[in-house]
Amino acid sequence: MSRRFLREISIVLFNLLVSDEPCANEQPLFPQEKWSFDQLFGTYDRAELQRGFQVYQQVCSTCHGLSHISYRQLKALGFSEAKIKAIAAQKEVQDGVDEDGNPVKRNGKPSDYFPNPFVNEKAARAANNGANPPDLSLVIKGRKGGPHYVKALLKGYVETPAGMKLAPGMSYNLYFGGHQIAMASPLSDHLVEYADGTAATVDQMAHDVVTFLAWASEPEMEERKHLGVKILTYLLVFTVLMGLVKRRTWRRLEE
């Protein structure tokens, strides 16, 4: 009796928790994509990460910051130390003041964080038709639907439906809340030229950059899953052993 109830409760509870994610309220459901980092053992595809980083550098970084990521972390993408040094050196960063109190600029080092494209929010809004381009460090974790949503958004620029009037400078996007987005369609075929020769279609670029941003959101994911397998295996053995010990101990009572 109670076992059946238990099962029913767990089903109800599960449904309750799952249905708690109302992603379909106003935006149409975005297509569910397959990702290299999906599932229990999924890891970030290194080639996708590197291409995605290229898309971020050449396209997104003009407006969007990535403030929680430092250059040295790019090692996780499979870049060599020398390459990371070269990437960091391309940017100029602010580094305190000199002895006369004047601000010092120098070339970036691997320990530097990605610089923000705008000096402050006002400057960002002034340059972007009043909108503040969000930092992308947590964009995959911080949106309902995560990678599916961001990829759908990047590809979601379609014809404005008849009868809808957009405010000046705005674009129509199928998946953005309210459909009016200040970001113009950022991707077009062959916008970047991939170093590894992959054809830079919009879909490919969106997929790659979302994979890169997923890594930026959760750089610990691979280590986390790896450690999780070990710890859960240990706990399984521990639990089974405790089950056996328990049975043996309690058998004394029957005798």
Binding site: L13, P22, L236, T239
Partner: protein
């Protein structure tokens, strides 16, 4: 034939300490020999599990506090630094974050077990009330902890919940200003929430000790709800329940670990990974899942003050349970009607939880209102009146199916 000298020395040392400070005989009395009903089911595992979760929460919390900065300009980034730069910071934070959910899962099961088996009845009324006090402290702690990362949900959750106090007539607005330390949720609010979030768990530890003292006064209730009479009805806590609790702990840690390592943000809202912005209200402000039933009660009342009063009453009414339920029979096993009522009550709580996650309009609102009314009818009408019409099943003679000679702790087999 002779004890190794080191052991002899230790025994002598233990004895020396014990004569002056009886910690060892205390442990022996309360954790080793402590007589426990032999028929406890796995539903009795959840008390000790809650204790373990509390300890883990305090330990992980102390380490998080070493790296966290309670300032509106730095809180969000300091949490991200823990996630990205601190060695195993992500692990400690995810254990802590999911630990809050595990804590409530375990405690809710523990409370429902108490309701089903009448564990609140004489002579355990104060034990039960202390449990409700722990539950209240847990809710306050969890709420303030959720504010600390200073994401969008943190900020707006704090705004909504603290604003509830403005419903109090006359002094409501002053109370809210006093709670905030200003005229909106801002840096002073975050600072005091951090201070209190660090303090409250230790208050919980204190009340847990009182809870345990009250428990050990009369011992655990049991699935049959009758008192132990025969000598063999109770068995020593160690090894029987220590090993059973360890088995339960293994299962809990597996569930907890599954979330920590493979779905760490399952219970969270994505919006809380967006830094708090007082100028942008999230489309849908929802509290953490463990508050949803109470949130549903709050929103099902059209009047703000009424909603607040009802929401707090929903918790406080639990303290009256020992006096609302007049049946002398503890266990629902022998109360055919109460058993049905109990499961309807569980369903009501689950429905309220679902309603709390929905927008308060249309069908969810109607369901929420019906469930809210039923929640209180359950306590105020059905439970008190049940005793008049219910015919309990005959109670068994003893805790044991057949009479078994008494057992001495663990030695013989």
């Amino acid at each position: 034939m002779t004890m190794p000298s080191s052991e002899k020395k230790k025994a002598g040392f233990v004895q020396w300490v014990d004569e002056r400070l009886p910690v060892f005989s205390f442990i022996n009395k309360e954790l080793v020999d402590y007589p426990t009903p032999r028929n406890l089911s796995y539903w009795w595992n959840f008390g000790s599990l809650a204790g373990v979760v509390l300890v883990v929460m305090i330990l992980t919390g102390i380490f998080l506090a070493m790296f966290y900065t309670p300032h509106v300009d730095h809180a969000f980034n300091s949490v991200e630094r823990i996630m990205r730069e601190v060695n195993y910071g992500w692990l400690i934070r995810y254990i802590h974050m999911n630990g809050a959910s595990m804590f409530f899962v375990v405690v809710y099961i523990h409370m429902f077990r108490g309701l089903y088996y009448g564990s609140y009845k004489a002579p355990r009324e104060l034990l039960w009330i202390l449990g409700v006090v722990i539950f209240l402290l847990m809710m306050a702690t969890a709420f303030m902890g959720y504010v600390l990362p200073w994401g969008q949900m943190s900020y707006w959750g704090a705004t909504v919940i603290t604003n509830l106090f403005s419903a109090i007539p006359l002094i409501g607005d002053s109370i809210v200003t006093w709670l905030w330390g200003g005229f909106s949720v801002a840096n002073p609010t975050l600072n005091r929430f951090f201070a209190l979030h660090y303090l409250f768990p230790f208050l919980i530890v204190g009340v847990v000790f009182l809870h345990l003292i009250a428990l050990h006064q009369h011992g655990s209730n049991n699935p049959l709800g009758i008192d132990a009479k025969k000598p063999g009805d109770k068995i020593p806590f160690h090894p029987y329940y220590t090993v059973k609790d360890l088995l339960g702990l293994g299962v809990l840690l597996m569930v907890w670990g599954s979330f920590v390592f493979f779905a760490p943000n399952f219970f969270g809202e994505p919006d809380n990974y967006i830094p708090a912005d007082p100028l942008v209200t999230p489309e849908h402000i929802v509290p953490e899942w463990y508050f949803l039933p109470f949130y549903a009660i709050l929103r099902s009342v059209p009047d703000k003050l009424g909603g607040v009063v009802l929401m707090f009453s929903a918790v406080f009414i639990l303290t009256l349970m020992p006096w609302l339920d007049r049946s002398p029979i503890r266990s629902a096993r022998f109360r055919p009607l109460y058993k049905v009522l109990f499961w309807i009550f569980v369903a009501t709580c689950l429905i309220l939880g679902w309603v709390g996650s929905q927008k308060p309009e249309g069908l969810p609102l109607i369901f929420g209102r019906i469930a809210t009314v039923y929640y209180f009818i359950h306590f105020l009408v059905f439970v008190p009146l049940l005793n008049r019409i219910e015919r309990p099943l005959p109670l068994p003679e003893s805790l044991q199916k057949k009479s078994v000679p008494s057992v001495k702790g663990g030695a013989s087999s």
